[in-house]
Symmetry: C2
Subunit: 325 residues, 2 copies
Amino acid sequence: MPAVCVIGIGLIGGSVLRAAAAAGWQAFGATTSPTDAELARADGADVCTDVDTALRRAAAEDALVVIAVPLTALDTVLRQIARYAPDCGLTDVISVKEPVAARIAERLPDARYVGGHPMAGSATSGWAGGSVDLFRGAPWVLTTEDDTDRAHWLRTARLALACGAAVVPASAREHDAAAARISHLPHVLAAVLASVAQEGGSLALSLAAGSFTDGTRVAATRPELVQAMCEGNRDALLAAMDDALGRLGVARGALATTGSLAATINHGHQSRLQWAQQQAQATGEFTVPFLEADAPERLRTIGAAGGRIHRISGDVLDGVLPLPQ
Amino acid sequence: MPAVCVIGIGLIGGSVLRAAAAAGWQAFGATTSPTDAELARADGADVCTDVDTALRRAAAEDALVVIAVPLTALDTVLRQIARYAPDCGLTDVISVKEPVAARIAERLPDARYVGGHPMAGSATSGWAGGSVDLFRGAPWVLTTEDDTDRAHWLRTARLALACGAAVVPASAREHDAAAARISHLPHVLAAVLASVAQEGGSLALSLAAGSFTDGTRVAATRPELVQAMCEGNRDALLAAMDDALGRLGVARGALATTGSLAATINHGHQSRLQWAQQQAQATGEFTVPFLEADAPERLRTIGAAGGRIHRISGDVLDGVLPLPQ
């Protein structure tokens, strides 16, 4: 029975703890919130309020340690891991991957680490917001670099699959670039759109409906969460913002000089259709023997093509790929 | 029993015809689509396929003529009105107001005209897409200029109220500026966001969920409709795009130099909250005797403050205003 130790049991960490336990893992965790610990224990979870104790137990049981705290608390947890569980395999569920990998390389240079990002969420937070099936069917990115420890990667992938997710292999850099475009930029554009509408005064806000409501929904999120997420992915987000600025500037120029927005609107429409088709279409299967030398590169190619791993048999990975468009 | 003649019985025109008839107006219409005419007649509506005949009847019965065709068909209909019903009071339900007013001033300089824009829609189109309660509770902008014919404005406002809408008074210019910020810019930003995500490749599209899905929903709309709507409001949309470009550029600069997006994200969050509060909050009432000399200006002030007219008694308008924030 594999063991997993989850540090931080909020929405994501609490859901990992529930799902891993339900899948038969020996799952335990720690939180600095007495309230969350009490709620979790009332739900039958094995949770304490002393991170050091939990990490000592993780070391004794060779548990996979899941860092599920906000980026701002990462350094504190890394110091505790260095002291009490320096040999445990590590993963995390924080929404940016290069900055986390850099801090771990700095503070725990010998650690076996695979970065993780389950692409699931909800408007709620804390232990009470989580659920055993939060990750069911969701993509769960695992960082896959040429020097990633293979056995540790496989164990982390088994955890993600046990939680009901599909594993998407990508380098930390590829993950951050993609997240900037599909998650962080949408939050920035929602804020900009809400501000432009508000600048139109009460008449504009009075008439605002469908397209405004959808386009600004995530601007209702707690701003400190949005800020931490976006600022933590600065370099990739800057590139995505430059792309958006360029496209918006081209559209502005076309409208001013030719009166036409055809290129902008048609390209956006086609892109949205392509997304919908990729979600919906029939898929091709793949199989990768993970211990072969070029496996990380092959896996990254599969992730880059929109592929997902659904099964691990021994050291062979099986999954599905979107059909080429 | 007041009479109304609706030219074009698609989603909006067909819903006006149904709602006016249900409210006791003598409502009839015309469409160049034999299919839509047949569907409408099967639903008990008084619809013919000959616009000239409908307009001759409108002239005979002094009906209010509602132009409910796309902007691209406006000139054709104006020529028919000039020939068969030049003295009828006119309104329209097209989504931009200054360009329509300009064409009417050019082709029918003596017409009594009040521009209209019911802020309701749906993903469907044609007669079959409409419904008797499409406008229930929705804002319906009526252009209110200093030289607007008062009696004609009142009759048009009674039609909007009979359809279940609340009347929002605004100048054509004020309407177009607001619509650019809360309707047309969201469509442009959705197209840009979809394209930036697609540029991130299949990995980005594979990971795209919540914030991407919401932010690009309207990019799934038929592109020719979005194009006509946005391009028809060129000047106001250019101003809104410049505002968005400026704010996005400032955000980019702040992130690059200070690492912080606090100003952008907090302002967007506050703006979204202000919109939600304006929708939800308790309201103050107002009453305007419409025949007084400064009534158009007073009404525009009310519309600019987010006010809506819910009742007309004789020539007195009653409505509600958001409380000042």
